[in-house]
Symmetry: C2
């Protein structure tokens, strides 16, 4: 029986969940995987939290040096989150010759080049399945299943909080603010929800996933980001009528002209598999040149689903030789040859508030044709207080042309653009 | 650069697809995976088929011994299908010290115990991702991602032909026979479709997937099997009205009382993610005690999707040490301690043809209550030619009790049971 000593840094939701899984399944792993995994130490400032999990005081380390010098420990789980002290701890652990399993998307996204270098130097494993989309097995799918493909696109619902909020807004027509409050009460959103609702969390994950997919570093700074805080339930309802679901999508594309990476609210056709991913569920839809379309669906967060990914990495680390280092040149910046497309192409949904006057529609549409934008559908609603809500759907067009058109319309005095939402149909 | 020599046994749909992927991506794999994969030999009786792929005559082997003794070959792809000669060839290859990648579900299902033993003895890899659900990364998800979970259930649409046929029957109300003919024309069904439409193909895959999931051999002979040849479009339409989609589901459950494995047409609630898996797409829905629910979706068959899985295994084999042997005691029969539940529990849909007479409904329902079966819904349609179609939905009940009730009803003279379909709601 192979003995594997584990330390857990940080006993929050994910670290606590991991501890529970490891202790409750110890015999199961003995029997089925031939490994005896024991938690030898934890590092957690809040000692009460550790003791509430039933952890013996003697196993609560005082500092990272104690973990690094403990010869009983083979693998260290980093579930602290954020950059510091997580980064220094991970580097210290790797330098002490132990493997690391991390659930920290921000850390891995921003510093994987540095961490991987140190891991390789020390011949240690660096595992990060839990950093993206919780229990959904997407990292290993990219590394060990789809690696024979040229991946052309990756579209994901990769943040549970925003998907929960948008699903509820869609179900009951409630406002963003009201649903956010409810989500916070239920533990689906944090007290400070910025990282989720403004799309930062999704950006970190998209950076990791698209780097693996496209075999070049995709720095998170290259990713266009737009959160869900300005989403108006009115648009969700209009979208429904038009056969679309509104999702915060992370989109990565790799084409002849370069790489396109963006996170923003998106209307997606209601018969697309991603349109039916609701509540706090996540999914990643991957298209490769051989495999065609694959979708991986499941819980993107939570103590046990994320713990499942961490424990999977621990067992993998214990039963496989070698590590799953990234398969691209893991540098801080993208390869100089890589081109990022900022002026991307999409279909668009625009909601305008228009003055109820003769000839206005013709004036408005002339701004679109001026920029070569082809309109696919127009819906004019009943006037209210002299204002007419006007929905315009476009064919494929360039982002910059839409922006110019919107600026002109807002300056024209006849219409105000109340909402711009990109569309995948 | 690591050089990897490959041989392909059988250049049918899958073998041909694999050859194409390997040759077209050679430079891509050089660059991104540091491996130079070259196809050194093929074994294919139909030499024209090989030459049509552009394979040089000198690379067409005359027999398996030539492959085994060729020191340029490291990995052999078996895409012949069926038991013989595939089995003898795979054993010969393993005994010659080369690793095997197979897409052969029947072979792996029936003989994995024997093949794995020989692979281990020769310290060779035996990879079989392509044996189940084509390009969908389910084998490695079970082996390397979800291995920290006690998996409680696995429900899958794991045969593309039958899913295509049922989807089309549902879309247009056509008969099984008509849709089968169309599917054969389009290449979605084989000239002899028995293995697919009678559920054998799904049974082989379910045996492999449930063995990995439940950590004990689940011999295919233990799996209850019912194909789609008797499916009546009438029932698909009734199901739709009741909010169900009809799918050929492979169901594996592991509970306190034992393991339950079955393949049969099933009504599944239309909001379940599996209900929206249409046409030739496949999906596996897995529930584990930590990860909760995960669904893996994609192309379950076809030259390139299955080739993607094979090539993934080849690259994995070339870049990882060790193999992915099964994590259960891989014997011919199940562990003696394993109990298989044959009298399983389910909800049921029954369509009866009933004589249009007073008091008949009461008589019929009395047969259900006699066997303790609780009815959840009854729909009585308009009489036609003195016969009334009657739909009965039951609450959870035992298979054997339903069978007894059906036998009694058929013998009663007042009703004939025209359809029995298990339901997941």
């Amino acid at each position: 029986m192979k003995k594997v000593g584990v330390a857990i840094l940080g006993l929050g939701v994910v670290g606590g969940g991991t501890y529970k899984i490891l202790t409750e399944h110890r015999e199961f792993y003995n029997k089925n995987h031939g490994v005896d995994i024991s938690v030898e130490a934890v590092l957690e400032l809040n000692r009460e939290r550790a003791m509430a999990l039933g952890i013996d005081e003697s196993k609560i380390a005082s500092n990272i040096a104690e973990i690094c010098s403990n010869s009983e420990i083979d693998v260290v789980v980093e579930s602290i989150g954020g950059i510091e002290p997580a980064k220094s701890f991970v580097l210290a652990v790797l330098n002490s010759g132990k493997s690391v399993v991390t659930s920290n998307k921000e850390l891995y996204c921003k510093y994987s080049h540095e961490l991987e270098k140190v891991a390789k130097k020390n011949d240690c494993g660096l595992y990060f399945e839990a950093s993206c989309v919780g229990g959904v097995p997407v990292i290993r799918a990219l590394l060990d299943n789809l690696q024979g493909n040229k991946i052309t696109s990756l579209t994901g619902i990769i943040n549970g909080t925003t998907n929960y909020i948008l699903s509820k807004m869609s179900d009951c027509g409630a406002s963003y603010t009201d649903v956010l409050k409810e989500a916070q009460k239920l533990g689906y959103a944090e007290a400070d929800p910025t990282s989720d609702v403004e799309g930062y969390d999704a950006v970190y994950k998209l950076s990791i996933l698209s780097s693996l997919s496209f075999h070049t570093k995709v720095p998170y700074t290259e990713i266009y980001r737009e959160g869900i805080t300005s989403v108006d339930p009115t648009d969700i309802q209009y979208g429904k009528q038009l056969g679309y679901a509104l999702k915060l999508l992370a989109v990565g594309k790799n084409g002849e002209n370069g790489i396109e990476v963006r996170v923003h609210p998106t209307f997606i056709k209601s018969n697309h598999p991603l349109a039916n991913v609701n509540d706090s569920y996540n999914a990643v839809y991957i298209t490769g040149d051989s495999v065609e379309d694959v979708m991986l669906y499941g819980r993107g967060a939570g103590a046990l689903p994320t713990g499942s990914a961490i424990v999977g990495d621990i067992i993998y680390c214990a039963t496989h030789q070698g590590s799953n280092y990234s398969t691209f040149k893991n540098t801080e910046k993208a390869d100089p040859a890589t081109k990022f497309i900022k002026n991307f192409e999409s279909e668009y949904y625009l909601r305008l508030s228009v003055k109820d006057k003769t000839g206005v529609l013709s004036k408005i549409t002339s701004h679109f044709s001026k920029h070569g934008i082809s309109i696919s559908q127009v819906i004019q609603e009943k006037a209210e207080n002299g204002q007419v809500p006007l929905i315009i759907l476009t064919h494929h067009t360039l982002e910059n042309d839409v922006k110019k058109t919107v600026d002109e319309l807002n300056a024209s005095g006849v219409a105000r653009v109340a909402a711009i939402i990109r569309v995948i149909s």
